[in-house]
Symmetry: C2
Subunit: 366 residues, 2 copies
Amino acid sequence: MEIKRLSAQSWRFDPGVPVVGAAAVCGPKEGEGPLGKDMDHIFSDLRLGQKSFEKAEQLMQMQAARIALERAHLPMENLDFFCGGDLLNQLTPTCFTARTLGASFLGLFSACATSTAALSLAALAVASGAVANAMALSSSHTCTAERQFRYPNEYGSQKPPYSQQTATAAGALVLSRSGQALAKLSGVTLGKVIDIQITDPFKLGPAMAPAFADTVSAHLRDWQRQPEDYDLILSGDLGRHGSAIALELLKRKGIHLPEKQYADCGLLLYGEDDSVFAGGSGCGCAASVGFGHILRRIAQGELKRVLLVATGALLSPLANQQQETIPGIAHGVILEGIGNAAQEKPLDNPSENSSRIPFEGGNEDA
Amino acid sequence: MEIKRLSAQSWRFDPGVPVVGAAAVCGPKEGEGPLGKDMDHIFSDLRLGQKSFEKAEQLMQMQAARIALERAHLPMENLDFFCGGDLLNQLTPTCFTARTLGASFLGLFSACATSTAALSLAALAVASGAVANAMALSSSHTCTAERQFRYPNEYGSQKPPYSQQTATAAGALVLSRSGQALAKLSGVTLGKVIDIQITDPFKLGPAMAPAFADTVSAHLRDWQRQPEDYDLILSGDLGRHGSAIALELLKRKGIHLPEKQYADCGLLLYGEDDSVFAGGSGCGCAASVGFGHILRRIAQGELKRVLLVATGALLSPLANQQQETIPGIAHGVILEGIGNAAQEKPLDNPSENSSRIPFEGGNEDA
């Protein structure tokens, strides 16, 4: 596998790193949304029978990890390398998931951009030959993240209309040099930290939009491509306001991203549900939508090439209290179909070994 | 550069990734210790003239980054990739350092094992050809970490005798395929999460010791080496109790690590100073001692091959309140001399371009 540096931010993998396993799981509200049918597991309550929401988030991660491994026909003990993260201090759920998985582990924090940060690292590790296979995973949970970054949901606090709802969801991908590929990862554009001096902890879409525009424009420059070269350019969780700002910023850079070629994972996840205000947010958006719904459409040949750009707001409550700003970051990965092979083995037609996995949006708790 | 997978945890780089820049900086207490003479900068107070200790930690990181870049003769704008982390929630200091550096960025959290986690990733990125150069950095600060994980130092709380003092220190290394090498990084053994069910947030050395023993034994197995093949096997911050437990655990695995070949960065940093109780701790230990004192000895030909194993206790205050345990993790890297070339250009004999850098333990504030 050739790894080629295109710029300080972009690397190309040729012919691309095979994606051999994928899973997306979510909470009840997300399961009722328009993408519920593409979720591998929908938990019917936010606690998952656990004593705390943090333990529930960890269980949700494990469910995603188990399904992704099973779909990859990879026994847990054969997993070489695990990387990922979540929104919680010290990446608590992810560290405990790493304990269960037992693989070598690097924890990553890029706020809500962690899904593609982890995917970039997993792809680099597999493509370079350092590891035989790797799992990238990330998650968020509305009850753990909201109470850490803003107010506990139980307070019933007022929210400004530009606020977003942290998604309760997790997604995992398994990359491997062997096994049957569902899709391939053919390149990475890592983000830089971009700060436009926003300090309002509810205004995260606008805080992340410039990072999205920066990463997308760097990506198109490095690959010498136009937006039309992608079936879809997806942001992670910019929401309504962040999306509008991002498209305008791209326009000012001379890049016209047509609306039909653009979507936001946080908006796709909840559809027209306006109880989430300006849209969904959290690592779980890009992870569950990108590694679930979108990957499924790629594997089925419906989408040929997608640029998934998860976006993160580097909000620190402690720094915020010290009048510091909330910079943004966005990491992009190219996911592509592998041609006929993918269509011969659609995700909705599980092989014998993985028939225990609910492929059609199961709704049973673990 | 060949990258060879030796096991699920270990990769070998052949002929090794050149280390072209290095820096270690610290606070006043650490500067008074036995390694003060090998620090590139000693800050005379814990606030560095900043409004908060968090901002001070970030400034300390930047000082390490600037010296490492200068020593590498690499202008900041030519840095491709930056990775690293610290102990604070959301890696706040590191994210703001990434904003200043302007390079593509991945934030990592492996608690006090973050220094070698970042070094492993930076080496992989450079060795694979994905980036031309990379900086790995990590830091800790006693006033930011203690108040987040235990009690603010200002409380003057009682501490058990097995507690450790978080070091105020930072270290940075620059890896690059071009430039004059001070040393080389020839291999990585990533750690797994190992949990022996400790729940006392002061008992971190014992919580990390089994992870250290696990990583060291995996490393020796994968490279088919004995402890004697290393001039030094260094733990990051096991402290007195953790070190004793680690050596005993290795013995039970059939590995006799002679005392003269073993050292702990946290103990080296403070020497006989018993005001730090069982020793130093924090990302800053392995980063400042490993990337400063030890790298200097390697560059000068005094040490030929060192295994640096930073150790992390995955302590989460929130999980701790929920009666969860504190698992450990440890990541190892091999640092080696490059032979005569290194001796021709010792770190203490700066070239013209880097003569502004205090090589002999400067004690002026930034």
